[in-house]
Symmetry: C2
Subunit: 459 residues, 2 copies
């Protein structure tokens, strides 16, 4: 007998969102503006023009348009792999024997293996629209790099990807996949940029970091004709694109009159979390919902739970505008032992503001607990989750078990942002019990905080 | 604007098939019966009882029941990852600039990465129903082993997987994944069985073969209490379970009154091809359709296009019943250089009969052509196809290009049986242009044919 609420809820193509939702337009307290690092004044479109495409600059700076129409060409791109399902976790509920209803929005069925494609497509489209011929970007775990490789193959653009060196060594298959899509892969730090050379001079054996790869990709873009830079998280236009996740999830759940009480997302730079929660948070701000929102981050890179709310650079070379955000300092280096993504020192400014204002909760988890949750999940739900996404699974299981204690029938929604097919070495180390949990000491955090600028705005 | 026929056609949970379809019931010329290798008489349920579960034996021998009800428990299992989408390949059509309509049924969204789970679930269920505590099986490329590991985790059964040694070395991540699901992996040939020891004595450095791993798994099952053996392809009960693919595809296409003119599947043992074509072939046999059916096999293991239609063993140690099928001989060893699955010496008896009677066409492809098609496909359709499935993509592209020449608007349906996330070394060798095509010489084939029994039925 079929379930009253089906295991997988799909929207029809007609029901797919035609606009993205700009949460900032509904926020009573807006996030603080990006500042020019020289003048400490809010950045202008002109300031950003050498680095980014016109389309995304407009979106980045727009705090007032509530619904931003999705161009037909991008809707066409989305239809190649969307809508994605909201899945009722009947099998997980049964295993946990919980009165809670658990749902997850699954973004892992495309080849990039994650939600990243939702912003890669639009960013490649806007580049094409500007008449560009190439793009640069960075990638850590490789999901974003793969997504951009796919999007550039789709729109016929050249792409150079600076891949964090240690990741490119640990994940040769990610490289193969990006190259199959025609991308040019460069392990970072490299000798192809000044910022890369500087870092290599200081430490020739460094494994690199996302902040450093960003510096190289920006430098390369600025110095190349008809080329711009694209970023896969942290910025507000990325979150805007990712609201397709939350909008689809909400529309799917609304069909069955399901209202989530708790909404959970993993958080690195915030793109998946921000995209998932946006429309639900809009309801909360409007007083139409009492939902709780939970960000789950790795204990090894705890920008929400142990970071500072301050203006900071987005990259190690300190070339980007300043963003007021939860940050560990642009000089913070997460432990190499940490599996998967979620290794960025900062957090999107909108999410940071929501956290600062008490609208968003956050917790951190060590990775063995996260993989333990992943294995529980995959055994009954039949999907191999990405380590990143498994942070959300961990929190969803904990909340469902809490419901078991209290007897409450809460409705939990979490984001399953991607699959773990390229993370098998991490699963291997978990199986073999060689996986270690590394949590930064207070002294290590202080070292990162010391790289935050001492400016009036940070007093 | 949404498409008139959506990119992805999903059935609702209510519309999912409640029965499998037994094509043999509608065949005017039935496949020849399995024979006991000692008596050369048709095998009985008793003959098979030491090896297989009761439920599958009944299905294997049943040539008359047209629709076999799917037990509610298996429907529950299917709902964990089904229905799967039929996808209109709008983007591929656009790239090829063909008047043809191309559709594919995509079975790769579950963690096993293929259609194999459709039979793994039922086989584990029947084992549980018989009160067994463990199962044994073999796996080559690893899709079937992963699927059985998932199914056994779901139903709480122990599983021992004999994995073709060369595959277990080339694909350590497959091992990791199966172990994460709790399976016990043994590279084959091994010292855990008599048949394994015999093969190792002859050739201690052998990379193994599927036929040899089957021998070991059967031996282990027969010698273990409350244990049976399960097989992922070749046999008719496996094809029966896989008809869920074709039934869903037909129901989805019927919604939009789409009638395929050409139906294409890759073929190794035949489970994916047989499952996809069954209901469409039933229509053809009933005179209700003029569709063409095309099996696509690797040139390195050409059981359809260069094999013999003869009674042969299913395994190297020659312990199984005799099956009349297209075969290269149970002693045939496919080139180690061949990527992915589709390396079995024989072909399902029903498909072999259809081929023999002219109802099913077959062609073979060399692997560099297959990977060339895979890359074309993944760049526009956004799915990383398994090397196996890419054989079908190759033929679909060729047929679509033929339509471009003739101007015909044919409707092409192919089976995209799985994803290639565990085949990145093969993609790497294709990228690096180190991939080679190996086609067996006539002399090599003769060596295989020499292992086919010289019995009256084979005259």
């Amino acid at each position: 007998m079929a379930n009253k609420i089906p295991t997988r809820i799909y929207l029809s193509e007609d029901e797919m969102p035609k606009s993205w939702y700009n949460l900032r337009a509904d926020m009573k307290n807006k996030p603080d503006p990006m500042l020019h690092p020289g003048t400490l004044q809010p950045v202008t479109a002109e300031d950003l023009a050498p680095v980014f495409c016109k389309g995304v600059i407009e979106q980045e700076l727009d705090e007032t348009t509530r619904f931003v129409p999705i161009p037909e060409e991008i809707q066409d791109f989305y239809r190649a792999y969307r809508p994605s399902a909201v899945i009722r976790a009947y099998y997980l509920e049964r295993m946990l024997d919980t009165p809670a209803e658990i749902y997850y929005k699954f973004e892992g069925t495309n080849t990039s293996g994650s939600h990243k494609l939702n912003s890669a497509g639009p960013q490649a489209f806007y580049a094409k629209k500007d008449g560009l011929t190439s793009l640069t970007t960075e990638t850590g775990a490789g999901q974003w790099g793969t997504a951009m490789s796919m999007a550039c193959a789709f729109y016929g653009l050249d792409l150079t990807v600076y891949m964090v060196k240690i990741s490119s060594e640990q994940k040769p298959y990610r490289k193969t996949l990006m190259e199959a899509y025609g991308a040019n892969l460069i392990p970072s730090p490299s000798n192809t940029t000044e910022s890369g050379k500087k870092i290599l001079e200081k430490d020739p054996n460094t494994g690199g970091s996302l902040g450093c790869a960003i510096s190289e990709a920006i430098e390369k873009a600025v110095k190349t004709d008809k080329c711009r830079y694209v970023l896969g998280s942290v910025l507000n236009h990325v979150l805007l694109h990712q609201t397709i996740i939350g909008l689809e999830a909400k529309a799917a759940l609304d069909k069955f009159n399901v209202k989530p009480d708790i909404i959970i997302g993993c958080a690195g730079g915030g793109s998946n979390l921000g995209g998932l929660i946006a429309p639900f948070m809009g309801d909360k701000i409007a007083g139409k919902s009492n939902a709780r929102f939970i960000a789950v981050e790795p204990a090894s890179c705890p920008s929400f739970t142990r970071g500072r709310y301050a203006y900071d650079f987005g990259d190690t070379a300190q070339t980007t505008p300043l963003i007021r955000m939860q940050t560990l300092g642009s000089g913070f280096m997460p432990s190499a032992n940490h599996a998967g993504g979620l290794r960025y020192h900062g957090m999107n400014s909108t999410l940071s503001k929501l956290f600062h204002d008490g609208l968003l909760e956050a917790r951190s988890e060590v990775q063995t607990d996260v993989f333990d949750a992943a294995l529980k999940f995959m055994k009954v739900e039949g999907i191999l989750p990405a380590p990143e996404s498994s942070h959300a699974i961990k929190a969803a299981i904990d909340e469902a078990l809490e419901c078991k204690k209290t007897g409450e029938k809460k409705v939990i929604l979490f984001g399953l942002s991607g699959t773990g097919f390229f993370d098998m070495t991490a699963y291997q180390s978990y199986n073999n019990k060689t996986m270690e949990d590394r949590v930064p000491s207070d002294a290590e955090l202080e070292k990162g905080f010391a790289t935050i600028l001492d400016i009036p705005q940070n007093k």
